[in-house]
């Protein structure tokens, strides 16, 4: 294998338990997003657009859909003779399978993959964020700062700061303190879970962390504090632009709605920074005489005979006559019957919503509704 300057390791094993039934049979990075994509498309497209051509994708939880989706990476132009995409599931060493117990142990267990490219830098990414970022610019920053590690940070609202890992920096953007979900944040620079390390430095730290019985082998909880403790040069890379962790039903819905908001910074129509995906082969969408489509995004293969307002509709969806769908996300191949009312909901893939069903948030809580098979069965019986 040829030497690579920078290899990306994409952590895609997350279970996403706060997404409930959406992740019952697939990993969080494989969840459909934005009418056409899966969450992981954003990170893989960023790699492709940033010229990072060697990407290890670490999968563990419900990997079937994700593994076959990624394939050899051709959708993202990452099927390369030297490098390209490699899916890295846990494997057995001698007699027992070594599951990835934390984000750091996942990298530690794949040292051999990294070593074969003898990289100078390793870029650690997560597969569950929606954002567009040029990693090459971050790498140049990392090199110019002569850092051992760089952490990408974004300014969050002060009221949200206690939900994130907060980086306290000096005026040169050196990180002097890291606080995981602080009650009283001193700063509002949140870690985006994107790191660049000198591979030599990371390798040593991973080996040390592996021997520490008390470690949870997590980048945020263990590796970053260890770096600071050892007085390595850790710098913050300030990122400006759209970034969202879509770990909850609410945030997943919000990020979808952001696509419809022309004032949001999330633009997926930029030809200079395409979001690539596995393109299914469907005929164009058909909007019938009975339909009324307003402020919505609709993908190919849909047959729309009802009303859509502020909604995102994925490929292969049918919407029956007299149906009204407002502020909702309808995932691939869902069949929505006639005279259905859906408001502020996420309708999962392949589900059939019977005629006349009403789905809307409970007035008192106004939470996004995640439609489930159980709800449908209850309606039918």
């Amino acid at each position: 294998m040829g030497k690579k300057r920078c290899v990306a390791m994409l952590l895609a094993g997350g279970k996403g338990s706060r997404l409930y039934s959406l992740t019952k049979s697939l990993a969080k990075p494989a969840i459909p997003f934005g009418g056409k994509y899966r969450i992981i498309d954003f990170t893989l497209s960023n790699c492709s657009n940033s010229g990072i051509e060697t990407v290890g994708v670490l999968t563990q939880y419900q990997p079937l859909v994700l593994n076959s989706y990624i394939g050899i990476g051709s959708a993202w132009d990452l099927d390369r003779v030297n490098g390209g995409v490699t899916v890295l599931p846990p494997y057995s060493e001698s007699s027992e399978v070594k599951w990835y117990t934390g984000t750091a142990s996942a990298i530690f267990q794949n040292q051999n993959y990294l070593s074969q490219y003898d990289p100078e830098y390793v870029l650690i990414l997560s597969g569950d964020h929606i954002y567009k970022m040029n990693y090459e610019e971050m790498l140049e920053y990392h090199i110019s700062k002569q850092a051992d590690a760089s952490i990408s940070v974004i300014q969050v609202g002060w009221e949200d700061a206690s939900r994130f890992g907060i980086m306290n920096t000096n005026k040169d953007m050196d990180i002097i303190e890291f606080e995981e979900k602080p009650k009283h944040p001193k700063n509002n620079l949140a870690s985006m879970g994107i790191y660049i390390f000198k591979w030599k430095v990371l390798k040593e730290l991973l080996e040390e962390d592996n021997l520490n019985k008390n470690s949870s082998h997590d980048f945020g909880k263990d590796i970053i504090p260890l770096l600071i403790e050892k007085q390595k040069k850790v710098v913050a890379y300030p990122f400006k632009g759209y970034w969202k962790d879509v770990g909850t039903v609410q945030s997943l819905w919000e990020a979808n709605m952001d696509l419809l908001d022309e004032t949001s910074n999330l633009n997926i129509s930029d030809y200079n920074w395409r979001i690539y995906t596995v393109n299914p082969n469907h005929p164009p969408q058909y909007i019938s005489n009975d339909a009324l489509v307003k402020e919505s995004m609709v993908n190919e293969g849909c047959i729309i005979s009802g009303n859509l307002e502020k909604s995102i509709v994925f490929q292969g969806v049918t919407v029956g006559k007299g149906t009204i769908i407002r502020s909702s996300v309808i995932m691939p191949d869902a069949k929505i019957g006639n005279n259905v009312y859906i408001e502020k909901a996420i309708v999962p893939s392949d589900i059939t919503i019977p005629d006349g069903m009403v789905i809307k948030p409970n007035k008192d809580v106004d939470e996004v509704v995640l439609v489930t098979e159980e709800m449908v069965n209850e309606m039918i019986s």
Partner: protein, 342 residues
């Protein structure tokens, strides 16, 4: 057995009546149905019928066709064994009146001789249909015919099934017998061959003029036709693009139309087919239109019975009107101004 047919697509056809849309491209590469090219139908039908080796014989303006087909990956034809072959004709080749020029074939005899398939399906590139060819081969084998000609409503679809060894024989003897193409053989009453017909009952329309192109495009909007062409189990494959889903704003209304991906629709659209990455501005209305890829239509335009070829820009305030029998056709890459037609 299903692997034993070669797919032969004659992509040399040029139709005078389609000049406005085929000046820059061969007929096989004519965009249709919002995201397809004409050749996608016959090519996908072959692939869906289990044909794993397809040879395309183009002649004129085939750059766009090659760009569209690429390695054949989108049709699952980028294979180590068999796959997609491309045999352009030399320009001094005489034109033939029908599908399957024997001269053109004879220049590429290696393909016929080296392939292991026993039968060859020789087809045109300009029919819009979704047909399974497997039953045709079954019937051909059962009936002991030399040539099976596929028909629709009794008239020839210019698609022929023939044993490959028989085809090679016909190619070799073309000068002695005076046959230039498959059609010559079939219509010769003294051909001493057993010619059979296979009647196909489904939707099948040939595109040979602007009016048939327009008519078939409008047909595609009818659910009855749509359901026969776009079948989940037998998809029409095409070159896929990384366009985002289409975005509709609060200002437009769309009725009875097919819209491809990557569009931004701010105006009204009725009974129309809109291809990928088209922009339609506020206050504009489109009726009975076929709009090809990447056209930009400004604000307050009114287009009725118009065909816009690719990359056309329509400036704000433009009015264009054609008729149901004679649609207004705008050439590729041109700019249409508000003052031009007033």
């Amino acid at each position: 057995m299903i692997r034993s047919m070669l797919g032969i697509i004659d992509a040399t056809t040029h139709m005078e009546d389609l000049e406005e849309l085929t000046a820059h491209r061969t007929l096989a590469a004519l965009p249709i149905g919002g995201r397809y090219r004409l050749i996608d139908f016959v090519l996908s039908n072959m692939v869906n019928s289990g044909i794993g080796s397809v040879a395309i014989f183009p002649k004129y303006q085939y750059r766009s066709l090659m760009d569209h087909l690429g390695s054949g990956k989108n049709w699952d034809l980028d294979r180590k064994r068999d796959g997609l072959f491309f045999f352009p004709a030399s320009m001094d080749d005489a034109n033939t009146s029908g599908i399957g020029s024997f001269n053109h074939f004879s220049a590429n005899m290696d393909y016929f001789q080296r392939s292991k398939q026993e039968y060859a399906l020789v087809a045109n590139c300009f029919t819009v249909f979704n047909m399974n060819f497997t039953p045709v081969l079954e019937r051909h084998l059962d009936s002991g015919c030399d040539i099976t000609e596929i028909t629709n409503n009794g008239s020839s679809l210019e698609i022929y099934l023939i044993k490959k060894s028989k085809l090679i024989e016909l190619i070799h003897s073309r000068d002695d017998k005076g046959y230039t193409c498959m059609k010559d053989v079939v219509i010769d009453i003294n051909n001493q061959l057993k010619i059979c017909e296979y009647e196909y009952n489904g939707y099948a329309e040939k595109i040979n003029s602007i009016s048939s192109y327009y008519h078939v495009s409008k047909d595609i909007l009818k659910p009855k036709v749509w359901n026969q062409l776009f079948i989940k189990e037998r998809p029409i494959f095409t070159k896929v693009k990384d366009e985002p889903p289409t975005r509709y704003t609060s200002t437009g209304e769309v009725k009875n139309s097919m819209i491809a991906n990557g569009c931004v629709i701010e105006g009204d659209i009725t009974n129309s087919i809109i291809s990928r990455a088209v922009k339609v501005g506020k206050g504009s209305s489109l009726k009975n239109c076929i709009i090809m890829q990447k056209c930009t239509i400004g604000e307050n335009c009114h287009l009725d019975s118009v065909i816009l070829d690719k990359d056309v820009t329509v400036e704000s305030g433009t009015v264009m009107t054609g008729t149901a029998t004679s649609p207004f056709v705008v050439r590729k890459g041109t700019v249409q101004g508000a003052l031009m037609n007033s």
